[in-house]
């Protein structure tokens, strides 16, 4: 993180506000996307998150952070994608209770280093583990709208094909645009005839991805890397990048929490 220069104007909105749930979409058997309309919208940067606060009738509260899945270009609305942790507290509430019309207390946007703005250019190496795809989808969408020539390669590590979130978006992003490539590593279950990676992220895999990214854009500017997901995934990805000589000042990370 050494040379990342913080932006002092990036102060988060610190007051709690209510947001209306407009839409609930099922992404996979354990991921749902919630579209929230904010009472007091403020601009955000791709990669940032909101805090959500739930309050029980007796005043007991629980707070968790959820990354913004949508692009900053859609002002006033944010998408949050929540993966179900079955023995958890807040993610089961989202999955079992929340429906359109509900009010939720949120505050944000929050988060500094793990953001992308078009002036940072690229090429972008986006490394997602599980629900770590969420803020990277925001970055990919924003790239497509604001800076479509910036080359990007997404490497998405998921357990099996049924765990892949945003499949449609990723399929079309990868197919339609020559400056975007999507690679998948399915670590536990691969469909018959699978030709993608079938193992966890490692240095050789990242070397191949970087080589592909460099070939795609044909000049030698150093990629910016964003790694996001469960702590174990982010540790492995960042360590692997360092081990193949990637400058740590070009690596940004967001750790969601314990490894499953």
């Amino acid at each position: 993180m050494g040379r990342l220069v913080p932006d002092p104007t990036a102060a988060p909105a610190t007051t709690w506000q209510s947001a209306t749930v407009e839409r609930v979409a099922v992404e996979t058997y354990r991921a749902k996307t919630f579209t929230l309309r904010l009472a007091e919208p403020s601009p955000f940067r791709a990669g940032q998150h909101y805090d959500v606060r739930l309050t029980a009738p007796d005043g007991y509260q629980a707070q968790r952070s959820y990354s913004i899945a949508s692009a900053p270009d859609d002002f006033g609305r944010i998408d949050l994608t929540v993966e179900l942790i079955p023995d958890g507290e807040v993610s089961p509430y989202f999955h079992e209770v929340v429906e359109p019309g509900d009010l939720l207390e949120v505050r944000g946007p929050i988060g500094g280093p793990f953001t992308w703005t078009p002036d940072l250019a690229g090429p972008l190496l986006l490394l997602a583990g599980g629900s770590g795809i969420v803020p990277l989808k925001s970055i990919l969408m924003h790239r497509g709208l604001a800076s479509p020539d910036t080359p990007a390669l997404l490497l998405y590590s998921a357990r099996g094909p049924e765990d892949i979130i945003y499949r449609k978006f990723l399929d079309s992003a990868g197919r339609r645009n020559p400056s975007v490539a999507v690679r998948c590593a399915l670590t536990r279950r691969q469909p018959p005839g699978w030709i993608g990676y079938d193992r966890r992220v490692d240095p050789a895999m990242l070397r191949e991805c970087i080589d592909e990214l460099m070939t795609m854009h044909g000049n030698d500017s150093v990629p910016l890397s964003y790694a996001c997901g469960p702590t174990g995934f982010v540790e492995a990805a960042a360590d692997a990048l360092l081990s193949i000589g990637v400058d740590e000042a070009t690596i940004r990370t967001e750790r969601f929490g314990p490894t499953q």
Binding site: M1, E235, R255
Partner: protein, 201 residues
């Protein structure tokens, strides 16, 4: 605002109060802005720097480990909402480091700085009289790299981002200045009991 249909599942009553907005965590999550730093002990050193940039003291690993050791038992609180009870840290208090350096009157603020470029600011008072230490052991073991080893700052009464991992040194300052997360809108002081997470809290 009461949230429709929410009653709370993590109702485990903490054995003693934890700060508002926090929940009990038994594991030890990791929050870091970049890759984990791995600093070999033979390349490690710790420096104290005065307000004019003048060196006040420097210790290599061996010299550092010959300083007086202190053990503390404490609860820790991360701004990402988890609190962990009954942790044990062993290290060298800032008091003992100042004594070893012969400094009796440090400036009122400090910037802790780390291998990898991380920084965080604190009032000097908050690390004196046993309130802060440079720790090298967690629960009886050397601190793992992902948790800030070989040595990290531990200031348990403030949110844990103030307890800089991979600590490289401390620079004293006449005035308060924001460190890394503080420039991104995290609170300048960070008292978990007042829920000072972000600017304006």
């Amino acid at each position: 605002m009461v949230t429709r249909g929410f009653f709370g599942r993590r109702r485990e009553t903490p054995p003693r109060p934890i700060p508002p907005g926090q929940y009990l965590e038994r594991g030890f999550p990791v929050l870091t802005a970049g890759p984990t730093q791995r600093v070999p002990l033979d390349q490690w050193s710790f420096v104290l720097v005065g307000a004019e940039g003048e060196p006040l003291g420097e210790w290599n690993w061996e010299q550092f480990r010959s300083l007086p050791e202190t053990e503390i038992h404490t609860d820790i609180h991360c701004v990402t909402k988890w609190s962990k009870l009954d942790t044990t840290w062993k290290g060298v208090t800032i008091d003992d480091l100042l004594t070893a350096a012969g400094v009796s009157d440090p400036s009122p603020y400090l910037m802790a700085f780390s291998y990898g470029g991380y920084t965080t600011n604190l009032p000097t008072w908050d690390v004196l009289e046993g309130r802060g230490m440079v720790a090298f052991e967690f629960d009886g073991q050397p601190i793992a790299a992902e948790h800030g080893g070989p040595a990290r700052l531990v200031v348990p009464h403030l949110y844990f981002w103030k307890s800089a991992k991979w600590l490289r040194g401390i620079r004293f300052m006449p005035q308060d200045q924001p460190g890394f997360w503080e420039q991104y809108g995290y609170h300048m002081y960070g008292d978990p009991w007042k829920e000072q997470r972000y600017w304006g809290d």
